[in-house]
């Protein structure tokens, strides 16, 4: 769908990323490369269940890789942004930048 007033194509905005929690997860992982679940929760917020649901959506889209391992006897979940996720993230940011850069219709 294209906004006729601005010429902006809303399909450029990736729905998988465009949610508050998923956007925050992608943003954090774009800087950190990888993080464990608790670290991510501390920065992104939300409950364990809520965050896990959003992470599953990102994993299903192939945007993040999930590694489960044990450190001593403690289970640990490590999340990494995948190459496909990085591409999607860059495309998402470009979409937002385009939205911000386009001049309003008739505006100068």
């Amino acid at each position: 769908m294209t906004d006729e007033a601005s010429g902006f194509d809303y399909r450029r905005i990736d729905d998988v990323i465009h949610g508050r929690v998923r956007l925050a997860v992608m943003a954090y992982l774009s800087g950190a490369m990888a993080a464990d679940f608790n670290e991510l929760k501390a920065h992104v917020g939300g409950t364990d269940g809520n965050l896990a649901t959003h992470l599953r959506k990102l994993e299903e889209a192939g945007y993040i890789d999930v590694e489960k391992r044990f450190v001593g006897r403690k289970p640990q979940t490590i999340l990494r942004m995948s190459p496909a996720g990085r591409e999607a993230w860059i495309a998402y940011l470009k979409g937002l930048e385009t939205m911000l850069a386009l001049k309003p219709a008739g505006g100068e």
Partner: protein, 235 residues
């Protein structure tokens, strides 16, 4: 106000709202990306443990060489293996604990861990090979072990400066990966210690200078790293 004009105004308000939300999203994303990028460097404890162990081994070596300690020259390799072995054992416990710390999987700590692991392997293989070569071609302090023995002795004398060079490279890489410019100062100190230990190579004073160098270029940044990591986790 005509109907077309009202529609145009509504579209404009909608677009402004979208822009404002996009700007807010970008700002929040940037803040989070920076938070992810700037996870504190971990492993200060490992710097301190290895720094203290190496400094102690260097002091023991100096004390034996100047005969302050009346021990056989064999006490030198024994003290090195004992102290560095103990450091390896103790630091392995801290290394495991580090994995659960926030930021451990981040780019800075991953790169730093990899660089220091390779640095440690290089120094370990260098030291053990040199020692083995020394056993095969015995030498003593007055280099009476022949031509090959003199080369082995020179290798030991140059092992110390090489170590400082390796520390400096590892710290420079860690500083770049973790965006920790403060660590670069210690990399420079390490290069200075490298130069000082080249100039004094083959003399007992080299061991004292090296011990001081290890304290300033490993133990000190280790303590600072621990304080910074503690400060971040208290935030």
């Amino acid at each position: 106000m005509t109907k077309d004009h009202a529609n145009e105004t509504a579209a404009q308000v909608h677009e402004d709202d979208l822009r404002r939300r996009a700007a807010d999203d970008l700002k929040a994303a940037r803040t989070l990306a920076e938070a992810g990028r700037r996870a504190p460097l971990l492993g200060g404890e490992i710097y301190v443990i290895w720094g203290l162990a190496v400094a102690a081994a260097l002091l023991v070596q100096w004390a034996i060489v100047v005969r302050l300690l009346d021990l056989s020259p064999w006490a030198i390799p024994v003290s090195w293996f004992a102290l560095t072995g103990a450091a390896a054992l103790v630091s392995s416990r801290f290394r495991a604990a580090r994995l659960t710390h926030p930021g451990a999987a981040g780019v800075g700590n991953t790169v730093s861990g990899a660089v220091w692991r390779a640095a440690g392997q290089f120094l370990g293989v260098f030291a053990v090979t040199l020692f083995a070569a020394g056993l095969a071609s015995p030498f003593d302090a007055d280099a009476s072990g022949g031509e090959r023995g003199r080369w082995i002795a020179a290798g030991f004398a140059m092992f110390t400066p090489a170590s400082f060079g390796v520390y400096a490279i590892a710290m420079e890489a860690s500083a770049a990966a973790a965006q920790a410019p403060w660590l670069r100062n210690f990399s420079r100190l390490s290069f200075a210690a490298m130069a000082a230990t080249v100039v004094t190579a083959g003399t007992p004073i080299q061991h004292l200078i090296a011990a001081a160098g290890v304290i300033t270029s490993l133990v000190l940044p280790g303590v600072l790293m621990m304080r910074r990591a503690q400060g971040k986790s208290d935030d």
